[in-house]
C-alpha cells in the first residue's frame, strides 16, 4: 500500500504561521519533558510495551500502514506534545521502528516495513480488489436492471436470394 508519495506539500505552514500565537504558548516552544535520547527511549519503550498499545499497533499494521509512517507519526506527536525535541525524535525513530517490527513479529502478522524502494508504479493488491469489487457490483446492477433480451428468431426460412423462387 503506497501511502507515501512524492507529491507537492500543499498543507505546509505558510511563512509566519508560527508567529500567530504568543511565543511559548505551544508545547514545542517550551523546554521538553525528556531532554536526552535515553529519557526519550525509556518513555517510548515503556509506552510501547503496554498491552493496549500493542493491540492498537497490530491493528494499524494489519491495515497495511507502513512502519516508517507509524514511527514518524509517533515521534512527531511527541514533538508536538512537548515530550522531546525534533532532534531527539529523529534519533529515536529507528528504535521505534525496530520495536514496532518486534511487536509485529510477536503477533505473527504480515506488515509493511516501508523499507523497500518507494513507489514502483506497481498496482497494489488492495487497489485491484477494490476495482474488482466495484466492477462486480456494477455487473450485478446491470443484470438486475436489464433482463437478457432473447434474440428474435427468424420468422420464416424462406430463401431471399435473387435466384430464389417467388
Amino acid at each position: 500500500m503506497a501511502i507515501e508519495k512524492d507529491e507537492p506539500l500543499f498543507d505546509a505552514p505558510i511563512p509566519g504561521m508560527s508567529l500567530t500565537h504568543e511565543l511559548g504558548a505551544r508545547p514545542w516552544q517550551t523546554p521538553p519533558q525528556f531532554v536526552t535520547v535515553d529519557e526519550a527511549i525509556e518513555y517510548y519503550m515503556s509506552r510501547m510495551a503496554t498491552e493496549e498499545y500493542m493491540e492498537q499497533a497490530v491493528e494499524v499494521m494489519e491495515m497495511g500502514v507502513p512502519i516508517t509512517t507509524i514511527a514518524n507519526t509517533m515521534q512527531m506527536a511527541g514533538v508536538m506534545e512537548g515530550k522531546h525535541t525534533i532532534d531527539v525524535g529523529i534519533l529515536t525513530m529507528p528504535l521505534i521502528m525496530e520495536m514496532l517490527m518486534l511487536i509485529g513479529d510477536n503477533a505473527d502478522i504480515e506488515y509493511d516495513d516501508g523499507l523497500s524502494d518507494l513507489p514502483d508504479n506497481k498496482t497494489s493488491a488492495a487497489a485491484l480488489n477494490k476495482v474488482r469489487n466495484e466492477m462486480r457490483e456494477r455487473i450485478d446492477e446491470v443484470e438486475d436492471e436489464e433482463p437478457m433480451e432473447e434474440e428474435a428468431e427468424p420468422t420464416s426460412n424462406e430463401p431471399t436470394g435473387l435466384m430464389a423462387r417467388r
Binding site: E4, D6, P8, L9, T36, V37, D38, I41, M45, I67, T68, T69, A71, N72, V88, I90, L91, T92, M93, P94, L95, M97, E98, M99, M101, L102, D105, N106, G114, L115, L118
Partner: protein
C-alpha cells in the same frame, strides 16, 4: 520532497558492524594492570546518542531473530 526520513535513518543504522562493548577491567589487587593500554574509541562512541540507540536496536533485533528462529 522528503516527508519521512524514517527509511533512510533506519537503513543508515549499521548495527551489524556495531562493536561489542568491552568488559570492565577487573579492579582486584591481583588483577593485571595495563598501564600502557591504548585508549579505544569505544568510550567516545558511548557518549554518542546514535551509538546508544544502535545498541538498543541490536538487542531488539536479536529478540526478533530469536522469534523468527522459533527460540
Amino acid at each position: 520532497m522528503l516527508n519521512n526520513p524514517a527509511r533512510q535513518l533506519y537503513l543508515n543504522m549499521d548495527i551489524e558492524k556495531l562493536s561489542e562493548q568491552e568488559k570492565p577491567a577487573p579492579k582486584g589487587l591481583l588483577s593485571p594492570r595495563n598501564f600502557m593500554k591504548k585508549n579505544t574509541n569505544t568510550d567516545d562512541a558511548l557518549e554518542k546518542p546514535a551509538y546508544r540507540v544502535a545498541q538498543h536496536m541490536k538487542i531488539l533485533r536479536q529478540q526478533r531473530e530469536m522469534l523468527k528462529n522459533g527460540n
